[in-house]
């Protein structure tokens, strides 16, 4: 080992005698230093990968038990709706159908319309049933606690739903703001991450650039309380400024409340949960 001072910076500094992998492994969740069986992955690493992929697929294809969620939310009232996508296979192929309410449910929802609502709340299964099952109720309760005095519409529990379904819900309820809590596309490391999209003046046809997004609400990520605090900050400013989206800037938020405007889906941007 050379006695000269470490020459590589900043990430590749060599500490005398140390196994470099312990340092790198502490700095990344990437699957590094797995070794090889011939050319291929060793058996254990291969099967761990398959387990993580299976968890992600089960999250995508699972169904939310909305009856259980409604019971947990009571006495806060809620109602179930369906999108126009009949089943998961259609939902995955036809994002346009997942953005609109089934006709009968749109009619039923109209009975709840009230111009006095401050905020409509929608739970959308999106691409992870597990995210909704694990995070939706604590997040909703934290939101209610973070917005004292706000008149919150009954929680809309939506099946086969994408973010934009909230536009139609908000429009029908005559709410000035809608927050959609949606199961995010599962990764191999986290399969139950919830996101929140906030939209001012929701109406069918709103653009994704007119929303703000809070992402990564899960056990190892953002807590329901922190997410609710961010949403409360955004909702308060959205109401005052009468807008959401790129103009409601991250820079304006306190550092602890860093939020991002929603970006259009493309092949070089991380596609959020079923926008």
């Amino acid at each position: 080992m050379s006695e000269r001072p470490p020459a590589l910076r900043p990430g590749l500094r060599l500490e005398n005698g140390a196994d470099p992998w312990s340092r790198f492994a502490a700095a990344t969740p990437a699957r590094i230093n797995l070794g090889r069986s011939g050319d291929a992955l060793p058996t254990r690493a291969l099967l761990e990968f398959q387990a993580d992929h299976a968890r992600a697929r089960d999250a995508v294809h699972g169904a939310v038990d909305y009856q259980r969620l409604a019971a947990q939310l009571a006495p806060w009232s809620s109602l179930e709706v369906n999108s126009r996508a009949a089943g998961r296979a259609v939902y995955l192929r036809r994002p346009d159908l997942g953005r609109r309410l089934a006709a009968a449910d749109a009619e039923a929802l109209a009975a709840q319309a009230d111009p006095a609502w401050d905020l409509a709340l929608v739970v959308a299964d999106g691409l992870s049933a597990q995210a909704v099952m694990h995070q939706a109720v604590p997040t909703l309760q934290a939101i209610r606690a973070a917005l004292p005095g706000w008149r919150l519409a009954p929680v809309v529990l939506a099946r086969q739903a994408r973010v934009a379904l909230g536009d139609e819900v908000g429009q029908i309820l005559k709410a000035p703001l809608v927050a959609v809590l949606v199961g995010e596309r599962p990764g191999l490391s986290v399969a139950d991450s919830l996101g929140i999209y906030l939209t001012y003046a929701p109406a069918v046809g709103c653009r994704d650039s007119a929303r703000n997004c809070i992402s990564n609400i899960h056990g190892a990520g953002l807590s329901p309380q922190d997410a609710a605090a961010k949403l409360a900050w955004l909702a308060t400013h959205a109401r005052r400024l009468r807008l959401t989206g790129v103009a409601l800037k991250e820079d304006a938020a306190p550092a602890a409340l860093s939020v991002t405007p929603s970006i259009p889906a493309s092949h070089d941007s991380k596609e959020g949960a079923g926008r």
Binding site: S2, A7, P29, A30, N33, L34, D39, A40, L92, R185
Partner: protein
């Protein structure tokens, strides 16, 4: 617009215009169904192919799928068409072109000479009447070589991009993935990072990290941070060590506008990167990514099927003589490519069309967790692409992108294909691996013990240099 029709099984199938004919002739895929332009039956799909096979190639020079006046990509395609190179196929129908491409007359030299005479629409059209086997056979005859500090695309070689992404751009975490990749012989095409945040400070930190490592290890490769082209321009203004300038591109002016780019902006970035003269072997300084469905996703497809729009992106890429181009074929999701059958077909189409048009094409063989696909399917596609002579694929730790949350090919996959097909990396990079003692007596990449010995040795050599 003229109508096209064909008689099949006693039924006359009519196609309203050339766009409709092309869309109906496309192999089934969810994106064209979502756009409402796919054939509504298998028989109609074949009827469209029969009509397309009889279509004179020259039709594509006289009838623009997206109007010349409305779209700068159409203008680039038609104004840049090389009529002399086109002469050998000027009298062909689309069907004749397929037969010729498969013939023994169409060798490496003939195909290279033809490339500037083909438009993306011609390449897309002929691909629609070719089986996967045909796409592989013809692509394997095409050779597109590009150079910066390594020579990419030589016969009998397989390149790899080392993709060490990290959810927070942590330099130590990224360095760990780079080190692991190098120990697997990955990274001759580029060490390319998708940054978690597209800002100038982070861009400069990351290009400096790779550049530092490259110089310390005397590593023959190039770096790239896959941020927006305007970020790269700003970094070059600050004299950051920018090797390759990256941009995602699409096949229509409107879709490119959705990416925040135009041909003029790409030209500005191309000139800025050329002026740095950082390449030692050549001056191919651009890196582009594409992918079917991006134009539809941006509502900028003009009713053109997603595979044809994708091929039009290759005209944009070709204009700037890139070192690397790759389609990110399974990233966009099941609403565009539903399952492994559609992803595999699209990957082979994209590779074929790009090679035919003269691009140094690689493929990000990948899928998301909501697509009907898994690692077995990626094994199939990467093996087919190796047979087709793909210029490069991706190498990630176990194939798991912890920042973009999708799965691609792994360091191990690169090792597997190299040994299975006897395709070493770019010669300059291969020589480096030998110097570093990473090649065993049988010419294979030697397995590394998991105790950190190899990593320590590599780092120590870097420090001693």
């Amino acid at each position: 617009m003229p109508r096209y029709s064909t008689l099949l099984a006693g039924e006359r199938h009519v196609f309203e215009d050339l766009r409709a004919l092309m869309a109906a002739a496309s192999p089934r895929r969810s994106g064209d169904e979502l756009a409402g332009i796919a054939a509504d039956s298998d028989l109609r799909r074949v009827a469209a192919r029969l009509a397309l096979a009889d279509l004179p190639l020259a039709t594509f020079l006289n009838e623009a799928l997206i109007p010349y006046e409305d779209d700068e990509v159409t203008r680039l395609i038609l104004d840049g068409h090389d009529a002399r190179a086109h002469l050998p196929v000027a009298s062909f129908t689309v069907g004749d072109l397929r037969d010729w491409l498969l013939s023994y007359d169409a060798d490496e030299a003939a195909l290279a000479a033809l490339a500037p005479g083909l438009t993306p629409e011609m390449a897309a059209a002929v691909s629609k009447i070719m089986r996967n086997q045909d796409l592989i056979t013809v692509a394997a005859k095409c050779r597109v070589v590009s150079r910066f500090r390594t020579t990419m695309g030589l016969a009998g070689r397989l390149g790899s991009r080392l993709q060490p992404n990290h959810p927070t751009d942590d330099p130590t975490g990224i360095a760990g993935s780079i080190l692991d990749g190098l120990l697997h012989g990955v990274g001759d095409a580029v060490i390319g990072i998708n940054p978690a945040s597209d800002n100038l400070a982070s861009y400069i930190t990351l290009v400096e990290l790779i550049d530092d490592l490259r110089r310390k290890l005397d590593l023959p490769t190039q770096s790239c941070v896959l941020a927006h082209v305007t970020t790269a321009l700003a970094a070059m203004e600050k004299n950051a060590p920018v090797d390759l300038v990256f941009q995602s591109i699409a096949g229509t002016e409107a879709a490119n506008a959705g990416f925040g780019i135009s041909l003029a902006l790409l030209e500005e970035a191309h000139q800025a990167a050329l002026a740095l003269k950082r390449g030692t072997l050549g001056d191919n300084v651009m890196y582009f990514e594409t992918g079917q469905g991006s134009a539809l996703s941006a509502e900028a497809h003009h009713g053109v099927d997603q595979q044809t729009v994708e091929a039009r992106a290759y005209a944009v890429a070709r204009r700037f003589r890139p070192l690397l181009v790759n389609t990110v074929v399974g990233f966009i999701g099941p609403e565009y490519l539903y399952d492994s059958k559609q992803i595999i077909r699209a990957g082979l189409e994209d590779h074929f069309c790009a090679k035919l048009l003269g691009l140094p094409m690689g493929v990000d063989v990948c899928y998301t967790n909501h697509a009907e696909a898994d690692q077995d399917d990626m094994d199939s596609l990467m093996t087919l692409l190796a047979a087709a002579g793909v210029n490069f694929i991706m190498g990630l730790p176990a194939g798991d992108d912890i920042m973009l949350n999708y799965q691609s090919t792994s360091f191990h996959d690169v090792v597997t294909l190299r040994h299975l097909f006897n395709r070493p990396p770019a010669p300059e990079f291969e020589a480096w691996l030998r110097r570093m003692g990473m090649i065993d007596a049988k010419g294979r990449l030697a397995p590394q013990p998991g105790d950190g010995r190899a990593a320590r040795a590599l780092l120590a050599q870097g420090e001693a240099a």
